[in-house]
Amino acid sequence: MSTTTPTIRPLADTATMLRRNLRHQQRYPSMTLSTLISPVIMLLLFGFVFGKTFQAGIGGGGFDYLDFLVPGLLLVTMGSGTVSTAVAVCTDMTEGIVARFRTMAIFRPSVLTGHVIGSLLQTLVSVALLIGVALLMGFRPTATFGEWLPATALIIGTSIALTWMAVALGLTSKTPEAASNVVLPFSLILPFLSSTFVPIESMPSGIRWFAEYQPYTPIIETLRGLLIGTPYQASDGWLAAAWCVAITAGGYLWSRRSYNRGTAA
């Protein structure tokens, strides 16, 4: 009787699952498209339509409102990516094929890592699209190569963190509709109650306190500082990095626990 322990190949299995998820994005493009397009609509809305009023409202400040807006909208973009991730994961868990994966001798987290990398790529494409459209609209970042590097790292780090959190929320949701609601804090509430659209000094005191301490604000402030040269403190950068690590770790551990619950791990 051959009772050899099978060799588990994490990279090969993750790559296989990633290919599966990329095919899904391609075959079911409506979710993919809405993820790509809604941040661009926000950009057009706040950049063109409301832009002048907002610029006057925040007192000019010696910089262009569009330049102020784009770093914040990067977070909106990453945040709205959580919707399609959570829905995709939740839908997947209701499919029989995931039960099949669980009965196979494969790298167990590959179902999840495949989703994370697939969603991460989708988010990064929509970030690139947003920056592209913003540049066409007149967004003029002042960042040098040495500033773009940490900014890019922070964008990737934030995307990874939000994606793992979205995977966990998708795993624990009972229906895809519930999944799309449960990510609302990350896709809508946190972006609006932060310094995305207006400086937090202009907010009512209670909300201002919340906006000051929530994770998106230090990330936005750091990106803004790096990209358009607004004054920011190094502590914001460290705080942003710490939030990314904390959210990633929390999302990963929570995901792993939900995925393995009740089964012979």
């Binding site: 322990t5 099978p6 899904h24 039960a99 669980r102 089964t263």
Partner: protein
Amino acid sequence: MTAAIEVRGLRKSFGDQLVLDGIDLTVAQGTIFSLLGPNGAGKTTVVKILSTLVTADSGEIRIDGTELTAAPDTIRAAIGVTGQFSAVDGLLTGEENLRLMADLHHLGRAAGQQRAATLLEQFDLVEAAKKPVMTYSGGMKRRLDLAMTLVGDPRIIFLDEPTTGLDPRSRHSMWQIIRQLVSGGVTVFLTTQYLEEADQLADRIAVLDHGRLVAQGTAEELKRLVPGGHVRLRFTSPGELELAARVLPSGVPDASALVLQVPNDGRVQSLRELLARIDDASLEVDELTVHTPDLDDVFFAVTGHSTLDEKATTR
């Protein structure tokens, strides 16, 4: 020789609901074992536990000689599972589904392509190979599902109600496929709610009811537990039924349906005798139906209640 599957004292509860109450079973290598029972009996839970999807509360499980809790991945490498709900990826094509399995079994590109092509051929899916699985019929999905299970050449295959919801033709082709598998030395653990299916396929049958195995044996052994079939006679008036009940005292009358149920093994000779007695008494029979023993009768014999009652009480 080691048994393919060995289970001792398997117990499982969900919350305070006891689903499996001490199951013992042994499946010899290269045989078909069928777990027979109505909806809600716990069949799927047994498959889920044996295929490492769900953990048991207690009990000892050895699959292919390996203790399940000690090395789940070793067991996963030896088994294949086709669940009750199709475990296929609807957004991928049939061929992509098979290639996905080949990749997860690390077969390599050329070998994976070869394996997928062979299975598409074997399961009559060549024409549909490039179409998304969403567009497949129920029977095609089941065939693809089983084909995907076979990509890794499992030695032990679990099939959870493989023919439920299939039309008769698809059911027969599924039976054919299962027989071929076993002739190749594979062990099959099959659940079903159809006595006929177990009868057709299984070397051994176990009857599951309320989380307990109430009978175990070959199809022949189980049928011996059932006291033959019966004949149902329907009459047009209560008076006629009353008269018939006096003429045929072994019958069980049902006054509301105007039906008399008479034990009868369904052989021509016994039917002829029954008809002669009906003629002698000049009974006017509206309708006569012959019932051979079915799952309901086996259930009645081993549990004292019918499968229909079962559904009524568990829901």
